[in-house]
Symmetry: C2
Subunit: 134 residues, 2 copies
């Protein structure tokens, strides 16, 4: 069921500083910042040859990464996003296997404009998993 | 400088249960467990089309992931490993840019038999970064 790793998301308190670290210190190609107010984050894409890292900074008062940064003020790895061919089929198999889908169980439109779901980290050993229909 | 994401490492308290979750619930291809006593871990590789996830369980009394699991008893994302062409060149550039290399600054032989270094997570917004000479 799991396809490619679409991205690894890293929450950071200071997006400009994190972007500079990945660009200047680590020598990676980075995108300009993109504000995604409907997702409560500003994102910078770090382009690697086989996948990407997404640096996320909270945007607005109800950012989904605000609680994570309260617990981890320096930042940290927030989630892994895997691609799936059919997100409804994936969801139904996961629910049947006993895994919990966050929210109301309906796919939402993710930051890339595609249907996404998040799985409960307690079912996957502390890792928040995002599934995106590729 | 940064090349491919070689792997994403996830520390887990119960490798058999985590392997079953990735294989049976998430439908991924997983390897048999490999004990790496010289690295203080037992590892299962989760093979994705473009990279891999490594599930790590402590092995022995001085495992490098023991402290992480004390802080995160359910498990969690532990580090990201990026490939580099020349690890000594990468190290020298990083040190010149002010980043801290863990240990004595000399590459060690990593779990894949290749030279590796770890960078201080405080310099990279809470993310532990491993560099592996590809």
């Amino acid at each position: 069921m799991l396809g490619r790793v679409n991205h690894i998301a890293i929450a950071v308190p200071d997006l400009a500083a994190a972007t500079a670290a990945y660009r200047d210190t680590l020598g990676a190609a980075v995108s300009p910042p993109q504000a995604l107010p409907e997702h409560g984050v500003t994102v910078v894409f770090v382009e690697l040859p086989n996948t990407k890292v997404e640096l996320l900074q909270p945007l607005g008062d109800t950012s989904p990464i605000a609680a994570f940064l309260e617990k981890n003020p320096s930042g940290g790895m927030h989630h892994i996003c895997y691609e799936v061919d059919d997100i409804l089929l994936a969801r139904d198999r996961l629910v049947e296997a006993g895994a919990r889908v966050l929210g109301d169980g309906q796919p939402k439109t993710g930051a890339h404009g595609k249907p996404v779901l998040f799985l409960h980290p307690k079912d996957f050993f502390g890792t928040l998993i995002e599934l995106e229909q590729a």
